[in-house]
Amino acid sequence: MPMRNVRNDFPIFQAQPGLVYLDSAATALKPQMVLDKVNEYYTQYSANVHRGLYPLAEKSTEEYEEARATVARFLNAEPNEIIFTRSATEAINLVAHSFGRHLQERLPSNPARAAKKGRGAAIVVTELEHHSNIVPWHFVTHSTDAQGHSEQRRRVTEEKDVKLIWWPIEEDGTLDLEVLDSILENEKVGLVAVTGMSNVLGALPPIAEIVARAHKAGAKILVDAAQLAVHRPLDVKKLNVDFLAFTGHKLYGPTGIGVLYGKIDLLESMPAYQGGGEMIREVRKDCVTLKDSPHKFEAGTPPIAQAIGLGAAIEYFQSLGIDEVSRHENELTQYAVEKLSEVPGLTILGPKERGPLVAFTVEGIHPHDLATLLGEENIAIRAGHHCTMPLHAALNIPASARASFGVYTRHEDIDRLIVGLKKIQTKFVRARQKV
């Protein structure tokens, strides 16, 4: 069954008629029902959570925890495995702080590992990664000064250190599992941090296989699902991931809300990230005892309205039917790839099998110029390095342009993009020919 037409659900299209929004990978537009649910919190009950004893406070707590339950069902996890953060970035920082820093102590001993004795523990990241799934690990493995310049931690003994290992991409932007095998064999890997879907190449790493290999080698795995969660069904139990992070604002929800999923036994073994109210059982002058997960990891008043908004966004998203959404987006992506391939001098980046986005370069025209000119035609694309400098270095390009799709994207948007690109080309080529 085809996905229903959803454009009327999104009030921004009334406010911005003629808007061709092709930047959903940066942030998604919001449906009215999400805005209504956020507004409802502020206008109808508005109280703080977990503490109050009056009806409005009980209602707030109920809605907040119900949002948590909605997220848990969305991932097929338990509510105590769902931590609300302010973003996917914060979720990954939480794991870096509370798990990554203690990697060496956590590595299970086994004969294979003993053979690698004398080598520090390693965290593996891929060349596909967004800076938010690189920099937190960089901070764990490097000493940095105030300007951010770093050097691999001076080694007291090799045993003590955690080091960063890069899993490079293949020519077509995919990841070769044999390369991972080699890394896992030669290093004491404690954690593999990998994206579920590249925000530039659209590449979809084989998560299930990566999990199996990582676990076999005694390593844990964190999946950055900021893009993946919006475009593919997720079942954390089936995937067997140890940690997974995603963000609300890319999933048609408010800004300022993210989610960390972690296996409960891991979360229970991890020290808290931030300290403050809400996450404590008891505070004495010389001793503090903490709550269990997930509340242990939610210090201070949480982003209540935002979490409730995220719950509504997930409900909205699921009401469209994940299969229908996938079909709609895949069809659009194929159409986009086909049409963009017809533009002379345009190179599409990434593999054939991809999520719903297309990054590209145009010969002789810098992506920033493309995006600026398209912007003036009310066409929103993104240009630059998309927070993936190592990836762009690996591709040997300074920047790229990117069009990305959501539930409200339609063929007409892609047609307008093509017309816009050709118009820019005509203008630039004319100027170029006047030599």
Partner: protein
């Protein structure tokens, strides 16, 4: 389409003036914008109190390269004082267009490159005294 990419700017982009190196040069300044990959190197040679020759090498977006090309034309024959006074306004008056906040760094690239050069020159001078 906008004036930002008016013919003169695209002309400077595809037919840069004063392209090349100067060796020896009195000032050599380099600047990159890692956010988008623009870069320029500007070479300046004085002729007494005036700027005798300016050349540049670079790659990147139309705004940054055209701005640099236009700046090299502007600078020849100007005084050392004019070089000191280089700022965003100078560039904008050369480009003759409004540059949005997202592209200001592109327009400023050659100014920053020259500031880097001057900084290095004065550092060397300080060390010599």
């Amino acid at each position: 389409m906008t004036n930002l990419y008016r013919e003169e700017i695209l002309d400077h982009y595809y037919n840069p003036r004063n392209s090349g190196k100067l060796t020896p040069a009195d000032l050599v300044g380099h600047e990159t914008n890692p956010l988008c990959g623009d870069e320029v190197t500007v070479y300046v040679k004085f002729d007494g109190e005036k700027i005798g020759q300016v050349k540049f090498e670079g790659s990147g977006c139309a705004i940054s390269q055209a701005a640099t090309s236009m700046l090299t034309e502007y600078l020849v024959g100007k005084s050392r004082d004019d070089l000191e006074k280089l700022d965003l306004q100078t560039i904008l008056s050369l480009l003759k267009v409004q540059v949005g906040p997202g592209r200001l760094d592109c327009a400023l690239l050659p100014v920053q490159a020259i500031r880097n050069a001057k900084h290095r020159a004065s550092t060397i001078l300080a060390r010599q005294t």
